[in-house]
Symmetry: C2
Subunit: 83 residues, 2 copies
């Protein structure tokens, strides 16, 4: 079975986000009143497994082993069967 996977990795609250800070600074300089800018990353792809349950387990594993840093990152997983 094939699944459309979407994993969003974002910083845990309290961790500094230099890219977000720079973006906020540049947007303020351009005249926008914006604050608390955070940048997160979304990984999307097609995952092949035997079942939805296996896909969920593999996605969790992928986050823990490669995509997210458990010390500083949160992650959110979305899975949909690929038609």
């Amino acid at each position: 079975m094939k699944f459309q996977l979407r994993i969003e990795v974002s910083l845990k609250p309290g961790h500094s986000d230099p890219e977000g800070e720079t973006t906020a600074h540049l947007l303020n300089e351009l005249g926008y009143k914006i604050e608390r800018v955070n940048v997160s990353k979304v990984y999307s792809g097609i995952l092949e497994t035997e079942s939805l349950k296996e896909a969920q387990m593999k996605a969790e594993e992928m986050c823990k082993r490669l995509l997210a840093n458990p010390t500083k990152d949160n992650y959110a997983i979305m899975i949909e069967e690929e038609k």
Copy 2:
């Protein structure tokens, strides 16, 4: 008025995504059957404007002026009033 802004910037189809390719390669090496990995970025923040309409206009402008490259990026904007 304050608005919670969420802007997702992703590559247009057909543009090469080296970070996605490397991620797919590493995940394959770890034993996951995953393909077509793409990486996109989400900017979130609190934007202050006079109205929802102005917030939408400013968010579009921010994408065009700073956050997205019109040659290679698509962007999606989500706006919600901040309570």
